[in-house]
């Protein structure tokens, strides 16, 4: 690919990208959110067309008008969000949309071929199983099989490990190796440095829509890559706090909280937790151990079946988000774009999402549009949100800027408690730094911060105390000094600290 340019309103997503792929390699595409990785892969697979530049395949210029055209040329993509039909079987999904599939489907033949493909690349998956019965890792294998079945020579994987456990990720890497050994080529999109180092042969780094450079993996290291990615060296040290936690000033007191999840199973068992002024309390745990339910119960989005929540001693009405907001609870939910924000609404509307009822922004039930716009303009300025304007829908912003909008709004309500659920997930290195700095700044200013994260590194580098959740219970609360990787890791896995000593 030479000189590829793609413009969107207000943004140039690809601004002269150079990219060269050799047969049989795993080529990592590394870059921050908004660096242009997704745009580039969408161009390669025919979803977008470049405004400028050329793509050559085996030396001949090609133009892909549709994903089908790209697939016919042997380029297939495994998306981050799967495109599978849940009630269908694996085999059915694999042949779905394949033009060679005859009108009457010979299930047995397909199952045989799928099994054969799966075995060749060491991907354990039952072709007769229905998609909804499969784990996320298995579903990803189906996506890969789908592309292989179509005879793809080049596979593009968009952040494939984001949804995988470490074991599943290792299995995936093995599969990728098996495929390249047969002469297939893999483009591996990621922003995780370690992973890129361990899986790829060569790495192309993108920044701000341009190619920074292509390097051989053997001749580089994570520090250099990080520098290429963000344009400056980043250090991963534990953050230094300027103000200590005020331990006798309790902000949040949650007592004996019980709650059920969306499927009606008990997800919280007698959870007790306190957060003091200026304190960052980390909640560690493997995903799905009740962290989301805990955050939602405290934020009033979910009704507790038992227990109480108080903020600075005054109770918050159970299951009433407005009461929680009025009580001073800010909440940065895991799902930013569709829970924390209304994606189709403008930046200005989203900035006002929690304060539109205040007398500053509305009177007699009518909104003061000018006040809403000027408040948004101030926040965009203060939090350095990169957006074409305050009337741009937030769904058009990049991941990091989406999070900035959300944080700006939550901080602007001057909270007493801030619940941050996976606040840096999916963000690039630069944005992660900004978000973490904001959390620390908030704590330094006396806000109690409840940081829920699956990223242990994040919790260990930020939290004053670490609560570990396992199967809906808080199994331990450790002060920072005792919260080592090993200790917390053991507790997350359900082990008993005393017994394992």
């Amino acid at each position: 690919m030479t000189g590829v340019v793609k413009r969107f309103p207000g943004v140039v997503a690809n601004d002269g990208v150079e990219f060269e792929l050799r047969k049989g390699e795993v080529h990592a595409l590394l870059g921050e959110n908004g660096a242009g990785k997704s745009t580039l892969s969408n161009i390669l697979t025919g979803l977008y067309r470049p405004d400028e530049g050329t793509i050559e395949l085996d030396g001949t210029p090609v133009v892909f008008n549709s994903p089908k055209a790209a697939l016919d040329a042997g380029i297939g993509m495994v998306h981050q969000h799967f495109r599978l039909v849940e009630p269908f079987t694996v085999a059915e999904n694999v042949v779905l949309g394949n033009p060679e599939t005859p009108f009457v489907i010979d299930t047995e033949a397909i199952v045989e071929r799928v099994t054969e493909l799966a075995q060749r690349y060491d991907m354990a998956v039952d072709p007769r199983a229905r998609i909804w019965q499969l784990s996320v890792g298995e579903q990803q294998r189906v996506e890969i099989l789908k592309v292989l079945y179509r005879g793809a020579r080049v596979l593009i994987l968009d952040e494939p490990t984001a949804v995988l456990t470490p074991i599943e990720a290792n299995a995936l890497f093995k599969t990728l190796r098996a495929m390249t050994a047969e002469g297939r080529t893999v483009i591996f999109i990621s922003h995780k440095l370690d992973e890129v180092m361990s899986v790829s042969d060569r790495i192309t780094v993108l920044r701000g829509g341009r190619t920074v450079g292509t390097v051989d993996t053997a001749s580089t290291n994570t520090r250099d890559l990080a520098a290429m990615m963000v344009g400056r060296s980043v250090d991963f040290q534990r953050v230094v706090r300027t103000a200590p936690a005020q331990v006798d000033n309790v902000v949040l007191e949650a007592t004996n909280l019980c709650g059920i999840d969306d499927r009606g199973r008990q997800a919280l068992h007698d959870v007790c937790l306190t957060v003091s002024r200026g304190e960052i309390v980390g909640v560690a745990g493997v995903a799905g151990n009740g962290q989301r339910e805990l955050a939602e119960v405290i934020a009033g989005m979910r009704t507790a079946t038992a227990g109480t929540v108080t903020i600075e001693g005054s109770p918050v009405s159970n299951g009433k988000a407005r009461s929680a907001i009025a009580g001073g609870i800010a909440h940065v939910p895991e799902d930013r774009l569709h829970t924390g924000l209304a994606a189709g609404h403008s930046v200005a509307d989203n900035m006002a999402l929690k304060s539109y009822r205040s007398p500053i922004l509305s009177r007699f039930g009518l909104l003061k549009r000018q006040a809403i716009t000027s408040q948004a303009a101030d926040l965009v300025d203060k939090y350095d949100v990169k957006t074409p304007g305050t009337d741009t829908p937030v769904r058009l912003l990049s991941g990091g800027n989406v999070q900035k909008v959300l944080l700006a709004r939550e901080f602007s309500t001057q909270p007493k408690l801030l619940i941050a659920a996976s606040p840096t997930r999916g963000l690039d290195v630069g944005a992660i730094e900004t978000v973490r700095a904001r959390l620390v700044e908030a704590a330094d200013n006396g806000v109690g911060v409840l940081l829920i994260s699956e990223d242990l590194e994040e919790i260990l580098s930020l939290a004053d105390r670490v609560a570990v959740m396992y199967e809906g219970r808080i199994v331990a609360v450790l002060p920072a000094a005792e919260a080592t990787r090993e200790n917390v890791g053991l507790l997350m896995g359900g082990a008993n600290l005393e017994a394992s000593r």
């Binding site: 008008n65 988000a321 909440h331 569709h338 209304a342």
Partner: protein
């Protein structure tokens, strides 16, 4: 084979599209309609000119047009109000019938003993209340049990029609005129309680239309400027975000659906008070006001003020159809045109989201061959 044109997703929807696309749709419908007319051996320009004259150009034409536009304005607002929230209330038809039942009930009951103003106000309120209450069935089912409102509201239309027939044809109800033994009909209102009309330059404007304009303006302000409208927008965009900030989603669904039904209900009141002056079971069912209202809302892109304009436009078309009907102007023609307008309006919707670009590769391929 590649098509010479391709669709490209729009990332932003410029404001002018809100005007340009409905107009373009209308123009496209007229062009297709012209082809149909040519095939049937008519001169399209001549036919369109006559429609325009009979719909909009004379005092009599405008009077008739406004008369037809009045119920369409109400049912259009009814659909727009609910669609804005993402509640597809297609029960405007039934809600209008039930509103007419409510309005005629109170009109007959109060007619000879209360001051005219009070009776008229009571008819408006009862129409709104009955229509709103009827729609609340849909709203509550949707809010509490997540029932598909398209199905419930559609089914309730049939029930309302059966109720209407029962009251007039199959029973000796309060609404039925006891003197109409041969051919059953509704009991007439007192003459003094007929709704007033207002003359401007010879054009008579029914009171109901003024109510519709007021309702349109109210709805526009509500959705564009009010906190309630903001909440409706958030729920429509992202129900989870609404839950996150504590918006009372269920309550809002019920209120909006009731309001939507109330608008159709006032349309029913207006049918009784402005035009028929009795519960006209046959007449109400003849015109499909409720279903045409969905077309009105869709063409207006759910904009309440737009719905008023579109109602007048479609009203004019329908009205011209009535007065031109004859051997050289088939009665199906207006229906055909309306269908075409709806068709092109729905097709035009895709242009809101996508833009058409020439397909460069196809052009090159064509040159090469």
């Amino acid at each position: 084979m590649r098509s010479p044109l391709r669709l490209e997703r729009r990332l932003e929807q410029p404001r002018w599209l809100n005007w340009a696309i409905p107009l373009l749709s209308l123009a496209a419908a007229l062009v297709v309609g012209a082809i149909v007319l040519l095939i049937t051996g008519k001169n399209p320009l001549d036919v369109y000119q006559r429609i325009f004259e009979r719909g909009f150009l004379s005092v009599r034409a405008i009077t008739g047009t406004l008369r037809t536009a009045t119920p369409l304005a109400f049912t259009g607002l009814c659909a727009a109000a609910a669609f804005r929230l993402g509640v597809i209330n297609i029960g405007g038809e039934g809600q209008l019938y039930v509103g007419a039942i409510g309005a005629s009930l109170v009109g007959l009951w109060m007619g000879d003993s209360y001051p005219v103003g009070i009776v008229i106000i009571a008819m408006v309120i009862f129409g709104a209340f009955f229509g709103g209450l009827y729609a609340t069935i849909v709203g509550v089912l949707r809010a509490q049990f997540n029932t598909n409102e398209i199905i419930t509201s559609l089914m309730l239309n049939y029930i309302a029609a059966i109720l209407l027939n029962y009251l007039i044809f199959n029973s000796f109800s309060y609404w039925r005129d006891p003197r109409s033994a041969g051919f059953p009909s509704g009991k007439p209102l007192e003459k003094r309680t007929y709704w007033p009309t207002f003359e401007i330059g010879g054009v008579s404007i029914p009171f109901g239309l003024l109510l519709a304009v007021a309702a349109g303006i109210f709805l526009w302000v509500l959705y564009r400027r009010s906190r309630f409208g903001f909440e409706v927008g958030i729920i429509a965009d992202s129900p989870r975000a609404a839950r996150y900030v504590g918006i009372r989603t269920k309550w809002t669904i019920i209120v909006v659906t009731a309001m939507s039904g109330a608008l159709a209900g006032i349309g029913g009141s207006s049918q009784v008070g402005d035009f028929a002056h009795y519960l006209d079971a046959k007449g109400l069912q003849l015109n499909n006001f409720g279903y045409t209202g969905i077309v009105v809302a869709a063409l207006a892109r759910l904009n309440p003020l737009g719905a008023l304009l579109v109602a007048v436009l479609l009203g004019g078309l329908t009205n011209a159809g009535y007065s031109l009907q004859g051997p050289d102007f088939p009665s199906g023609l207006v229906g055909t045109l309306q269908g075409l307008i709806l068709f092109t309006a729905v097709a035009g919707e895709i242009l809101m989201k996508y833009k058409i670009r020439p397909n460069r590769a196809a052009r090159k391929a064509a040159v090469a061959s």
